[in-house]
């Protein structure tokens, strides 16, 4: 097992990793930008290194400085968290080359899954269900038109290197396809430096379902059930839950088996998430694989009792999976709310000093956050400042618990999305589980 791990991240996920390391008896090194010198994640670590100024490109994404920090502190491994360098195949490769273990999949895994069109192709060739559409990159407008006619309109054009909604275009009829194709290519090139695009059938009001997988170096793979992440605003998840209200044991087994086969197809290692679309008839289609720990991993931990960060570390250290698929049981129901430092109506960022911070507690309530009274939310990074997670015997109890926990949560001095979460949890459709990825836009339009 590792003796010392550098945590190449900040905020709640850095603290989350540090906590797991402490429980495993592993020393930790925090890195931080100048803007984060007083942050809780820095104080929680055994050692700390300042790696640059506030701008992430010069600090948390600064590969030379991060690796120098790892070298001068003599760590065995680096945990990248999510975002920043976590899906950077080059970084993973350099780590491997200098003998520092990258806690995550192989650099080949990251590179292959980072090319969304390629990933679709590999999975489809295994005979697994992918969203209907083009296989591989579209070479031309003609290619696009042919593919679109095959699956029928509407279609969505996506960047092969894409993410976060950039480089996407929904096309409703053939005559709009040419212009949309060119626009998507141009946006993909300017955003990702790669003009590759592909297209898929565009589903109306689908659910976003993802499956957590674990794989050891011997190729043994298990899954820990699904997460329903349909509550999104502009492709940004806001609320996640497990189990999904629409997935029964049979469908869970089916989708789980496909997820396991999909990652086996690419000799995937460590922890990953396979994303699916679920249509109204409960058909599911592979979309992509996320090669990092997900923000919403805690809800899976709550129902399975399995500490995913510890599993990541153990697997990276070369241990084999000791949990067999039949040992995995899902107890009760868990939901996560992402609390962002944003105006809950206009969604404008709301950085600033937190004058009072008091997190909810008691049975079935978990808070993952690096905030505290007197902390400052700096404007340079992601606006998510806390994850509020509840667990209950069933969905109803998890929801009731979330509502009382949202009422207890005090974050003064800045605006947060807590009022929006209250609105979501008060909604009758949400309470019944009748949601899709269109739910939040519809709620906001009311």
């Amino acid at each position: 097992m590792f003796k010392k791990v550098l945590v190449a991240n900040r905020g709640e996920i850095a603290l989350r990793v540090i906590r797991a390391c402490r429980e495993l008896g592993i020393k930790t090194v925090a890195i931080h930008s100048e803007a984060d010198a007083a942050s809780l994640h820095v104080r929680a670590a055994d050692e700390k290194v300042c790696v640059g100024p506030a701008e992430a490109a010069l600090s948390y994404r600064n590969i030379p400085n991060v690796l120098s920090a790892a070298e001068i502190t003599s760590v065995d491994a680096i945990h990248p968290g999510y975002g920043f360098l976590s899906e950077n195949a080059h970084f993973a490769e350099v780590c491997e080359s200098i003998g520092i273990k990258f806690i995550g999949p192989t650099s080949e895994n990251i590179a292959m899954m980072g090319d969304k069109a390629k990933a679709r192709e590999v999975v489809a060739k295994r005979g697994l269900p992918v969203t209907p559409g083009s296989l591989g990159e579209l070479k031309s407008e003609d290619d696009a038109l042919q593919a679109a006619h095959k699956i029928g309109f509407p279609v969505i054009i996506k960047a092969t290197a894409g993410g976060g909604g950039r480089g996407m275009r929904v096309v409703n009829k053939a005559e709009d396809l040419g212009r949309a194709f060119q626009a998507a290519q141009a946006e993909a090139k300017s955003t990702f430096g790669n003009e590759g695009v592909y297209l898929e059938r565009y589903f109306l009001e689908p659910r976003h379902i993802e499956v957590q997988v674990l794989a050891d170096h011997r190729g043994h793979v298990i899954h820990l059930g699904e997460r329903d992440c349909s509550i999104q605003r502009r492709h940004q998840k806001l609320v996640e839950e497990t189990p999904s209200p629409v997935i029964d044991d049979k469908l869970r087994r089916d989708i789980g088996r496909v997820a396991v086969e999909a990652v086996k197809a690419v000799q995937y290692r460590n922890v990953g998430t396979v994303e699916f679309l679920l249509d109204k008839d409960r058909n599911f289609f592979f979309m992509e694989v996320n090669t990092r720990i997900q923000v919403e991993h805690p809800i899976t931990e709550m129902v399975t009792g399995i500490d995913l960060i510890k599993e990541q570390i153990r697997l990276a250290a070369g241990e084999i999976l000791t949990i067999r698929q039949q040992d995995v049981t899902m107890n009760g129901h868990s939901i996560e709310c992402r609390i962002n430092a944003e105006d809950p109506e206009k969604f404008t960022p709301s950085p600033g000093l937190i004058t009072k911070y008091s997190a909810p507690g008691g049975f079935g309530v978990r808070v993952d956050s690096a905030m505290e009274s007197g902390a400052t939310v700096v404007p340079h990074y992601d606006s998510m400042i806390a994850k509020l997670i509840t667990h209950g015997r069933d969905r109803q109890e998890a929801i009731a618990r979330m509502r009382r926990a949202l009422d207890e949560f005090v974050i003064d001095g800045i605006k947060t999305t807590i009022p929006l979460h209250r609105r979501i949890f008060d909604d009758a459709d949400f309470q019944k589980g009748h949601v899709s990825t269109a739910f939040l836009e519809q709620l906001l339009a009311r």
Partner: protein
């Protein structure tokens, strides 16, 4: 009882008695430990109660503690009748664990990268510079090793090396102060 209904007080009305001799002969410039503690008490009061502003005024001495989202201000001012010969003592606070107090007018050379600090190009060689040396702008002061590469750190100014703040062969952070240079010194 309705929510937030205030509770009754059965106690005798609490008289808030401030001493008649709540005054002082102004002579000294600095805060006593006790007074600093009291300002801290005021700040604690402010913070604990999540207030925006707290003001204390007495004998021409006014203390106002204000707290706004995103900023903190502590103002201690004296509108004393006889400010004559009195000089306000301004103390710059110093950066965490780095340069000493007396850095007014000095230039601090900091590390632009994370790595290992070396004062000489090789273990046997002389140090690039010593304290007291005069240096030119652009002159190499030290090496910071990072990713197996030796990065020469140059002086940003002409001047005299007042203090070397890091120890050779030790790891350093981004932004860590390495040298203090007096740019006004002349050889």
């Amino acid at each position: 009882m309705s929510k937030r209904r205030s509770s009754p007080s059965k106690k005798k009305p609490r008289a808030i008695i401030l001493p008649a001799a709540f005054n002082s002969e102004a002579q000294d410039l600095l805060l006593t430990g006790g007074q600093t503690k009291q300002i801290q008490d005021l700040i604690d009061l402010l913070r604990r109660n999540n207030l925006t502003e707290l003001e204390l005024e007495r004998q021409g001495v006014r203390i106002r503690v204000r707290h706004e989202a995103g900023a903190k201000a502590v103002t201690v001012s004296a509108q004393d009748a006889v400010p004559s010969a009195v000089q306000p003592a301004v103390r710059p606070t110093t950066a965490a664990g780095s340069p000493p107090d007396d850095t007014a007018g000095l230039v601090t050379i900091t590390s632009p990268i994370v790595g290992t600090f070396y004062r000489s190009p090789s273990p046997d060689a002389d140090a690039y510079v010593e304290e007291g040396d005069f240096v030119k702008k652009g002159q190499v002061l030290c090496i910071v090793e990072a990713m197996k590469l030796m990065n020469e750190i140059e002086s940003e100014t002409d001047g005299r090396i007042v203090k070397i703040l890091a120890e050779s062969t030790k790891p350093i952070e981004y932004g860590q102060a390495l040298f203090l240079i007096d740019p006004k010194a002349t050889a």
